[in-house]
Structure formats: structure tokens, C-alpha cells
Symmetry: C2
Subunit: 335 residues, 2 copies
């Protein structure tokens, strides 16, 4: 299999709910006016806490500094696994499950923290630029690694294995088991022909910028009693659109424009983290994607500024819940 290091240098940012008004102008430009911006990688995810915006440096220029904007200090690079025909993998599962053992687990072992962004089309694995040499040396056994540069794919090989491994050295640690929240909404993962984006513009603007009542703000995010969660994700990456929304939001869109996989399945969410997770901890994705891979359960994985979110098929939510309970018990028993 091939692993591509994509030609985007990304920033991970967060806009406070009450600051969204100040960022409506640049965000609408980034979402709807492709001709006016050179941004090629844009993702916006609303959660109860804030709006996570992941975007390349061209897009980042559009965001003015503000007390409502938090910017993670690293440059992140997106990796993408391309299974070029000869898949040795017998799994039917899609999403992060497919790359759990080949990418996620080895990186976690090397203490590389990852920021995941699953979309309708693919799964982006974001790693910090400073970790790139470790990433290459860790994954080059399993993958042909290419770096995309100006439209060309250039093979890369590790040149500083020892240096890389020294930086992130392998230790046997017990990863933290974070509390999880399982909201009751059902989610869809969908796409849209970019040419028809104007046709849903007013609905999308309404959902993204005008649907948060002020009551939603504040403490509700950390409340475990939350029944349904506010979660909406839009991404426009290299010309491909991906949307993740719950069925309530979906009903507001014209039925004939958004499309999903032929199975049309619905997804349930597991939100990971009682407290904001930060950007340095390793193994969070591995901890949940490994058992999903063992059970061959498909999963989309969307990291945000504060928490991680896993979407699993609704028929699997019971077994996933059971699996997580078991994992917690084991972790508790070890201490």
C-alpha cells in the first residue's frame, strides 16, 4: 500500500461560539467562494464547545487574530493511505478501522500524536511536521511513502531513523483511558457535488452560523446528561466536499442533492474525553481503533480542538459500548 504525505501545511484552530459572528465573513469565503481564495484544505466542525477549523496556510491567512480564536502552535501535515488495487486487507470495514493496525498503532507506539479527520472520501491522518521523520521511519516498512509536491508524487525514504526514534523513543506506558459520552443522535456521512454547493448555500449558512441558540453555550458540553450532541462537520478538501450531520440537520437539506453510500447507513457517536484532550497525548486513536479493527467494525474518526469523536454503525453501538466498558474495567484493574 502507498502512503501519501499531502502537499498541505495545516493549522488547527478553534473559534469560540460567541466569536463566530466575527469570523462569518472569512468562513463564508472559504466555504463558498473557491475562486476568491487559494485555500485547498478546509474543515469546520461545530461541537458544543466551539468550532474547530483545520485549514492550510493560505486559508489561515483569512482568519484575523482575535481573542475568540485559538491556534494550535504546530504545523500539521495530512497523510493519506491509498490502497492501490492489490489490497491484502480482507476487511470490509471502512474508515479509521482500515488503518488502525498499519498506521495508527505503529505511530502510537512511537509516541506520535495524531489528529484524525475522516471524511466521506477518505481518512486524513494529521501529524505534526516535527514528527515527520519519525513517521516516515515508522511506516516505511509497511508502506511505499510518497510526498506530494506541486502535483508530483515523490518517493521518500527515511534518512534519519535513529535521530527520529531518539526523539520519540519507545516506552511501554499505560495509555490513559478517557471517559466517553454516547449521545443519542443518529448521524449521516455525506457528500455533495461541489457544483451544487450554491444550491444548499442558504441552508448550510443557516445551519452553520445561525442555529446555535445562546442557551447551547457554556457548560452543557461537559455534562454527561446530554442526550443529543451538537455536532456538524463540513470539509472542502482538494475540491471534495464531506458533510457529517445528525438526521435532524439532514432533514433541513434538499433530499436530492446530498448523497451517501448506497447502504445509506446511520452512525452513532462515541465522544472521547471528559476534559479537553490537548494535542500531545498519543494513543487515543489507537486505543479505540484497535478493538474496532479486531471486531471489523467500520468507524469514522473526527478529532476536534477539545475532544475526539468516533462514528460507528448504529447496529454496532451496543457492542462498542460493551467493549469500551470492558476496556475501562481492565484499565482500572491494572492500577
Amino acid at each position: 500500500m502507498d502512503l501519501h504525505i499531502l502537499d498541505h501545511r495545516l493549522r488547527v484552530t478553534s473559534i469560540a461560539k460567541k466569536g463566530l459572528v466575527d469570523f462569518t465573513h472569512p468562513l463564508i469565503k472559504l466555504i463558498f467562494l473557491r475562486n476568491r481564495t487559494r485555500c485547498k484544505f478546509f474543515s469546520l466542525t461545530e461541537t458544543p464547545e466551539n468550532y474547530t477549523v483545520v485549514l492550510d496556510e493560505e486559508g489561515f491567512k483569512e482568519l484575523q487574530p482575535s481573542e475568540h480564536l485559538q491556534v494550535e502552535s504546530s504545523i500539521w501535515l495530512p497523510l493519506n493511505v491509498v490502497s492501490n488495487g492489490n489490497t491484502s486487507c480482507s476487511s470490509q470495514a471502512v474508515g479509521v478501522t482500515k488503518i488502525a493496525k498499519s498506521v495508527i498503532a505503529p505511530l502510537a507506539e512511537q509516541h506520535v500524536s495524531v489528529f484524525m479527520l475522516s471524511t466521506y472520501q477518505t481518512d486524513f491522518i494529521l501529524v505534526k511536521e516535527k514528527d515527520l521523520s519519525v513517521v516516515i521511519s515508522t511506516l516505511e516498512e509497511e508502506f511505499n511513502i510518497f510526498k506530494e509536491e506541486g502535483g508530483e508524487s515523490v518517493p521518500v525514504h527515511s534518512q534519519e531513523v535513529s535521530n527520529g526514534l531518539q526523539k520519540n523513543g519507545k516506552e511501554d506506558i499505560h495509555p490513559t483511558v478517557h471517559p466517553v459520552l454516547i449521545p443519542l443522535n443518529h448521524f449521516c456521512v455525506m457528500s455533495l457535488d461541489p457544483d451544487t454547493l450554491p444550491a444548499i448555500a442558504t441552508t448550510l449558512i443557516d445551519v452553520l452560523f445561525y442555529s446555535s441558540s445562546h442557551k447551547d453555550e457554556g457548560q452543557s458540553s461537559s455534562s454527561e446528561s446530554l442526550d443529543c450532541i451538537k455536532f456538524f462537520s463540513f470539509s472542502l478538501i482538494d475540491g471534495y466536499i464531506s458533510l457529517v450531520m445528525d438526521t435532524e440537520a439532514q432533514r433541513r437539506f434538499p433530499a436530492d442533492l446530498l448523497f451517501t453510500s448506497s447502504s445509506g447507513e446511520l452512525w452513532r457517536m462515541v465522544r472521547i474525553g471528559g476534559q479537553p484532550l490537548g494535542f500531545d497525548e498519543c494513543g487515543i486513536v489507537a486505543q479505540i481503533s484497535q478493538p474496532l479493527a479486531d471486531s471489523d467494525i467500520s468507524a469514522y474518526y473526527i478529532s476536534t480542538f477539545s475532544f475526539d469523536h468516533v462514528l460507528v454503525p448504529e447496529e454496532d453501538i451496543v457492542s462498542v459500548t460493551e467493549m469500551l466498558r470492558h476496556q475501562r474495567k481492565e484499565a482500572a484493574a491494572e492500577f
Copy 2:
């Protein structure tokens, strides 16, 4: 003929060009999300100087105070002439020309300042609430006057004629003749089915919020050497949409959604005012609409925060220019 005092209490405001970013959120709500606002009267006009926003009190609540927002202190009431079938008027002209002699001239004589807002559908004559009694006593000879209140049209009669006339007393003054600018653009006055507004949303957003280059800002507004003028007007009033734009902007919209009168004529602009006109001077509209009425030339009239704008049929621009030159000479001779 009937004169209706419409059931809207209006504010006249101006947003600085560089402040538009801060007002994108409320303006997009007012333009596109009718279900989220109780605003029934909204007009936005871009000129080289600023954005003039005229809106009712419900809409005004959406605008947060800002150093970039100027608000005229008065409450303005819109009047509307309804020619109920039995038109005694033989004129074929449309727009402000039709009401020049019956409304504009008498109000100017009574020193009532007016703010004009012509749309595709009709011509709104905005008067200050404090002048209402003078307006009624001045116009009730010519019109049956109705006040619209909660969907009902209630006949009104002047009860304080003397008081009203005392306030604004009739004096014989020489009105100021303001310099005019005649830009080279050709304009269209158009409408749109409100149900198809979402279909032009991204184009309209692009034109309104992203088409001013920073180079446009600043001094260019007062320069007489300006060849073409930046002028774009959108209004959504009681469910009716009106758009005024030049042919360059028009080409950016899908040709099949915007419609104009069957004659499809183009209009040229006369901008009135070398210096901002303010809101107290009377007779500015009368000064130009009277001779247009004498020559039976149609005209749309759009006041903005700084200047007034008259649109006349392109085939009449030469005679209008000649007429204005004559008017200036006469004014000069009188002093």
C-alpha cells in the same frame, strides 16, 4: 389617489466599508434568512463611500453598535402612493417622476426633508416621524391618506394643521444647487421571486461582501474623474425583492432568474452632491424631479447616507445633462 403611511418605523444607517466584515453575520441573516428575523423592511445600498442600510426597528436590533456604524437619529416612516385604477395622470413615466408634482414638490415647499427609495415595485418616500403631521396636512388635499396598522388601512386626517404648518413654515428660499456626477455605467432595475433567492445566494454574497477591493476605499468617492461608480442596491421589503446593479454585476448572475420590465431598458445615473448631503436639507429631490416631470422622463431615485442617486433612461441622459447644466447656470445667475 391614495397615500399609504406604511406600518414600518425605519432607521437609516451607514456601515463603513472596512466595517462590513463585522456586519456580515447580521446582514446575511437579514437578506437570506427571513424565518430567523421579524424584519419586514430591509434595504442595503453599496456606494463608493459606504453601505447604506435602511431597515425597520426589528432589523435594526440585529446591528450591534460599532465604530463603523453610523445611525441617523430620526425614526423615518415610509409613504407609498397607490394609484387606484382611476388614474387622472396621463404620464407614461414611472418612478419618482410620477409623484414629483403631487408629493415631492408640496413637501419641499413645506420644508419637509425626504429620503427616497425607489425599488422595482414602487417608490418609497421616507419622511421623519416628527414631520408626519405636516406631511398629512400638506398632502391631504391631493390624497386620501391611510395609515397601515396591523394589516388594516385606517383613514387619517390632519388634526393639527396650524401646529404642523407652524413647525415647518413656508418660506421662499433659493435651494442649493448641488454638483452632480454622471458615471458611465449602465444600470438595470430588477426583481426576483423570493423563492429563488437561495439560487443566487452565493453570487449575491460574493457581489455584496467580497467584491470591494481595498483599492476602492478612501478618496475615490469624491473624485469627479471617476468613470464608473460602484453602486449596488438590494432591498427586501414586505416580501418583495428589488435589485439595482450595473451591467457588469448583472452578468455575474444567472440570466434566467432576475427579471426586469418587458422593455428591458438600461438606466444612467446622476449622483447628486459634491459633499455629503445630510438629512435636513429640503428640496433636493424636488429640484431634479420637477424638471424630469416637466419633460415626462421616468426616474428611479435612491437616497443613500451621503448622496442621492437618480436613474434615468439611457436615451434621456443627454437631455437630462443639458437640463442640469441649464439649472446650474440659472442658479449662478440669480446670485
